[in-house]
Symmetry: C2
Subunit: 307 residues, 2 copies
């Protein structure tokens, strides 16, 4: 059966890392350079300011500056799906308006994530209030389902209610649960809904189920292999490519993910600023980094070089 | 053995509720009136802008306005322990400076709570960075240990490290784990450290162990009974008073806590604004509220009247 292909963003989107200066202020120019490099190396788009981008470790003002830096650096708005979900609805509204102002393809929206065990009524009210306060017909909302981090899961019944209430606005989901069964069930239940796997490990099965692709952290460094899978996904060679990609992903995700990716990116660019992280994230130890590089070497992973 | 009594704030501190207007903007005047009523009815102080105060559902700017409203409403700074802990260190620094600017007795500081499974090194770096960026010898930090909500517990070894590094600044903890064993262990291990139980259920045992008292949400409505326990804690009648107080607490906490407390406070004041909550919190249903009041009635709970 031919699956319905969701409209809007598709393919391999990168949960882009955010570089910082030595004082841990965000480095907008290095950020734009990294995003340009990702687009030039096969990324279909950039899910900036997410978990990997340490977005919630930045103030709202700092997040404005980072989006401005991308615009100034020539990163086209239609390649962006910024993360905007904060605990406070006024902050989420403000960042969503900003994302629209820079021409973003849509936004990736965490639920308010401080309170736990909240009801679907409460989550419906939260998403409704943001959508109505933003009040912009261009808005495309991708839910961000990341139960291990937010501890506030986005269930299928909530999606169905919001799709019914805002059919032109609710566009899809980034599913970072690691649960392929959940991703496939959403592809089945919600035709035309853009399901992005939160890891390139699931890129091929999600595409085959009619999903949109993946939004991945480790694609900051595995982008070439991800792009190869997406290009070949309807060909007989796709499974072997996915298998190699999955091996790389599993090696990286066995480490603290953001510190590992920043370490690899520092090697690629030769820029020490990539080693900076905002607490509570902490850098990899040198021994951990050496073991990571050794494990990746065995897979034939070639550290991409700066453009 | 005579326990060492910790310096600084002691007794019954209230995790004050935050009233809102119909558009869910914070109502500073009603907030100051409520805080005044709490102080006039036995509260030793006010832990404003915490979980109960829906602080993380307000922007940083809105939290500034709420602290300003208390100053304008004549609430003395030394009766305040504002919550200041955000995911982003710049926000935590800004709110901590604001708390000092209004003369607060100290601050209650959540760890950055977006990332989970972070290391003690990362949490040590987070608290260090805030303390050093604030750079004010008046600062007194109370940790906020609330693993069920933040999912980022504050362990004893982390406390020991921070106490050693900042002995004049680290003042105590609000322990909302509900685990009395943990509270008593901290009283034992860290003499002079101000351990506040996160519920009045543990007020008496924590005082007897040399702790500071309690910082409680339900004390927004049980303040009279809490004050009676604190007044009598060294007398033979204390246990019976604590038992009655605990019964009331357990009835209230069997409901969604903030919605239940706002419903009761709306009854007390006759002010409908107290029914407003920011999503994702949702109001009690009328039937739930009737059952709550019926259960409290059986304990002899008398709804306090507005001053």
């Amino acid at each position: 059966m031919m699956k319905q292909i969701p409209p809007g963003p598709r393919g391999v989107w990168i949960a882009a890392l955010t570089p910082m200066r030595a004082d841990r202020s965000p480095d907008g120019q290095a950020f734009a350079r990294h995003c340009r490099w990702l687009l030039d190396n096969g990324a279909d788009g950039l899910a900036v300011l997410g978990t990997t981008g340490e977005a919630n470790s930045f103030s709202v003002v700092e997040r404005h500056l980072l989006l401005d830096a991308l615009a100034e650096g020539g990163i086209p708005g239609h390649t962006l799906l910024p993360g905007v979900g904060c605990c406070a609805i006024p902050d989420t509204v403000e960042l969503t308006k900003k994302a629209l102002a820079v021409g973003s393809a849509g936004v990736v929206m965490l639920p308010p994530f401080y309170y736990k065990s909240v009801s679907d009524d409460g989550l419906f009210a939260a998403y409704s209030e943001v959508i109505e306060r933003v009040g912009d017909s261009r808005l495309k909302v991708y839910f961000y389902h990341f139960p291990a981090m937010s501890n506030v899961p986005i269930g299928h019944d909530l999606i169905a209610r919001l799709l019914k209430a805002y059919p032109a606005t609710i566009a899809g989901i980034k599913d970072s649960s690691g649960d392929l069964v959940n991703m496939l069930a959403m592809c089945e239940r919600f035709p035309g809904f853009g399901v992005f796997a939160g890891s390139e490990q699931f890129l091929l099965p999600v595409l085959r189920a009619g999903g949109a692709g993946c939004i991945s952290a480790s694609a900051n460094v595995t982008i070439a292999s991800c792009a190869a899978v997406f290009k070949a996904w309807q060909t007989p060679g796709a499974d072997a490519l996915q298998e190699g990609l999955t091996t790389q992903r599993l090696i990286i995700q066995a480490r603290p993910l953001v510190p590992a990716l920043k370490r690899i990116t520092s090697e690629r660019t030769g820029e020490a600023g990539w080693l900076n992280l905002r607490p509570p994230l902490a850098p990899l130890l040198d021994a951990e980094a050496r073991k990571l590089f050794a494990d990746l070497d065995k897979t034939g992973f070639v550290l991409p070089k700066a453009a």
